[in-house]
Symmetry: D2
Subunit: 89 residues, 4 copies
């Protein structure tokens, strides 16, 4: 999520979203360019995007550009852990 | 939405998603690299992503990588039309 | 390309980048959420991203978040035209 | 980078790209949904994208969809480390 019209620094907004994630109990991994979430269903994902969006609105952000990438596999169970393990170290 | 494990051509899947969009009544613009949708709320967006995902599952896609970009403005009303008009011709 | 710290409106920056594209002779299609380019090589793409980035720097943008999506096919010739034709109308 | 037409599993391709990154000496952090790179210039980034693309071609991938996100700041020095530190723990 990129706030526009709110200066060049976004760290306070990223922190606020991480708080939303923590209180939701969703497993997440912060990264330098994005945050990865592990959810059981699209519904859980949508719920948390909506909650994060509401949090930024409350903070006064006037324009929010959100980039979401979903990896949905039907052929096997995956998690943040299995995805990282498959490629490294 | 990018189907993995389903060959190099994706046009039949894109067409199927456009059918979902048409029957939903949502205003959309197909583009060469993505499709743009105009929705009234995040809920409407989530509903249609879920419907498109279900459609690809029914077609037998085993892994779906979906990239979504949301432009949410609180400072003024926008539409596909106003956005294109602001930068063109 | 999303300018941060430059207000909520980005249309003057998008227009400036379209001017860069026009003077380069590259075939492009403006869209509501992104602009699609047709290039012959990665080198041509890199050249134009660099030129667009320089243009925004000249305009005083302090932070630029750029999202690029490349569709590189080796199995057949594609263009903006063939991609749109494959899925529509 | 998402290979199309090469099955649902991409880990061998991700590993090959990580090898390219390692031999280039570029600082990178693998993540569950993407890999973050730290580069000194757009030229360095373009060089490594091209090298990674060539590697996938050599492996026989017929269609490569690449998503790149660039965070370019002119107002201060940033790194993977400073970005993670700004939002955590």
């Amino acid at each position: 999520m990129i706030p526009m019209g709110s200066g060049t620094s976004a760290s306070r907004y990223v922190k606020a979203i991480h708080e939303v994630l923590k209180s939701s109990g969703i497993n997440f991994v912060p990264g330098p360019m994005s945050t990865s979430l592990e959810v059981k269903s699209l519904q859980e994902l949508f719920w948390v995007i909506d909650a994060a969006n509401e949090r930024l609105k409350e903070m006064g952000v006037q324009r929010i550009v959100t980039n979401i990438r979903i990896d949905c596999r039907l052929d096997k169970e995956i998690s943040i852990h299995t995805k990282l393990e498959a490629v490294g170290p």
